[in-house]
Amino acid sequence: MNTGTYFVTAMRDGIAQAMREDKTVVLFGEDADKSVMGSTKGLIEEFGKERVINMPLSEATMVGLAVGAAAAGLKPIIDLMVSSFFYITMDQIANQAAKLRYMSGGQVSLPIVYFAATGGAGSAAAQHSENPHPTLAQQAGIKVVIPSNSSDAKNLMLASIRDPNPVVFLQEAVLGGSRGPISEDVEEIRLSVGRLVRSGADLTVFAVGRTVAMAQKAAEVLEKENISIEIIDPRTIYPWDKQIVLSSVEKTGRFLAVDTSRKTCGFGGEVLATVATEAFSCLKVAPQRLCPPDTPMPFAPHLEKFLSVSEEKIILQVRKMMGRS
């Protein structure tokens, strides 16, 4: 789409709105005052350096700092820049942020948002192309969001900030410069509610983040072949909207999970496993998943493309499942 609000601007607008509403919302990040990714652009001008804090290169402490700040009354937002950097901070994410409320028997809530660009960005290579959402979702205690368009970017950012729990908001790196309209419907400001992107009769495609648009294009091609696919965008990865998926599969009887994370213990497999268990009797053919294989992301563009999910691969997989290959 060539009109509407840029994805990163929508994120920024969500942050700005939350900061206007609530003085305890504070933003931390390396160069957050200057905005490497664009999603914090201009916030320093409006909110000043007391609330937009440029951070030293110390991610583990930055992420832990948010836990303490939240416990002491703030609503910290942490700009981690690139999702590959979550690994440096995993102790504070998995052992602290994800567990403190539970361990304390519910004494504290930790309204924190951690956000970062995620996934391949075009030859960003192995250490800047991770999709850590399965790893984060595995932790229990951390919510995870991956919006697929500008409207969700803004509304889910707002929902994440207002949520009383640690939320990881992953911005698809490739979508940063995409544009789209913003829904003003306050009902859209909700986590854990999936979106029916397109209705269809034959097959349910569950598509995450950047793959939603691919699925949409695939649907148009397939429609001409008289294959009608239904597309579900979960929007929130954890806890995800199971009901919208199961209802869809009940109708279509065919299920394809399309995800950006690697296969083994990835998110696509999780949804597939749930469908296989809970909608088994509706399934007409084996449920399938489409995701990158178990490798790091290579640098060369053609190798990256070879491994990544694409419109073409969705089409081929759907045809196969429909017995049309």
Binding site: V67, L110, P164, V186
Partner: protein, 329 residues
């Protein structure tokens, strides 16, 4: 005993230290009897640090702690009934039995969490200090951790940040000279104080078995921090009388010389304070024993309370993962 601390504070300190000692001794007994689930790290011998530091704080100030945290919780104002109930995994425990010894949390008294991950409380305290400054409150945050934890990278990262922003935080290094079963001197190069210097952080190393010294040094540091003076490091030299964790004897071997243990036991922080207070005529020997037995019976009653407390309902195991969404406007 060095320095001066007012009488009522000293008496309060003595009482707290006795309470901690009593609590730990009774935990130890239960452990030996096999009545305690999990494993526990006792702070017997280190009571003056917990008491001296926490009596320099207001109840609204925050602390984070580590695996050896019972003393910190008690000194910060924790209720031994709820602590004991927690150690027994009961519903009346601080965390309803979901936390246990290494995860006691008591937000009401500013205790943001003991911690099972060595060093992990340091960034958390730094965040609390940031919030205090941001919110223009005059609260101070304290991170308690051991000499072993000074080898975790987050210690340095947090010192840099807190110096950069002049946060109201005191890093209390409880130096009992051991990292588990190893002499920390065999694992660490350089003193704790020297590690603070690059960041321009005021640092001191004191006798951690001297309640009055701890209270006074930390009291001054807290006053400076409250007034915007920024972070400080206070290293308290001390010793744990017991093993790293209870029950280690079967595995650990004799990694500490008997003489060393004996020498440190002669420097019992509680007895030292008693001698001082009696010499200063602040307390009489009879009052000491009365206090001791009061604290012992407080702990005994806490244990009884804990035993009588109901186990949490099994369904509790599934709650408190997420706070309820109240945020949608």
């Amino acid at each position: 005993m060095v320095g001066e601390v007012d009488k009522s504070l000293s008496l309060k300190g003595l009482r707290l230290m006795m309470r901690i000692r009593s609590f730990e001794e009774s935990v130890q007994k239960l452990f030996t009897q096999g009545k305690l689930p999990g494993f526990v790290h006792l702070c017997i011998g280190q009571e003056a640090v917990a008491a001296g530091v926490c009596l320099a704080l207001e109840s609204t100030d925050q602390i984070t702690s580590n695996h050896r945290g019972h003393g910190h919780v008690i000194a910060k104002g924790g209720d031994v009934k709820k602590m004991f109930a927690e150690l027994l995994g009961k519903s009346d425990g601080y965390c309803g039995g979901k936390g246990g010894s290494m995860h006691i949390v008591d937000f009401a008294s500013g205790m943001l969490g003991t911690n099972g991950i060595v060093g992990a409380g340091i960034p958390i305290a730094t965040g609390a200090a940031f919030a205090n400054k941001y919110l223009k409150s005059d609260k101070v945050a304290v991170a308690f951790f051991g000499d072993g934890a000074t080898n975790q990278g987050v210690f340095f990262e947090a010192m840099n940040m807190s110096a950069l922003w002049q946060l109201p935080i005191i890093f209390i290094v409880e130096n009992n000279q051991y990292t588990e079963w190893s002499r920390t001197g065999d694992l660490s190069v350089g003193t704790t104080i020297s590690r603070a210097l690059p960041f321009g952080i005021r640092a001191s190393s004191i006798d951690g078995n001297d309640f009055i010294a701890v209270r006074q040094t930390v009291g001054e540091a807290v006053m400076r921090a409250r007034a915007g003076g920024g972070p400080e490091v206070v290293e308290c030299m001390t010793y744990r009388w017991h093993g790293h964790n209870e029950g280690e004897e079967a595995f650990a071997g004799h990694y500490r010389p008997k003489e060393e243990i004996e020498a440190w036991k002669k420097r019992d922080p509680i007895e030292a304070l008693i001698v001082h207070l009696i010499a200063e005529k602040i307390i009489s020997p009879e009052e000491v024993e009365k206090m001791r037995s009061e604290e012992k019976s407080l702990v005994d009653r806490a244990y009884e309370f804990a035993v009588a407390s109901k186990p949490s309902d099994e369904s509790e195991a599934l709650t408190d993962v997420f706070a309820e969404q109240g945020g949608v406007k």
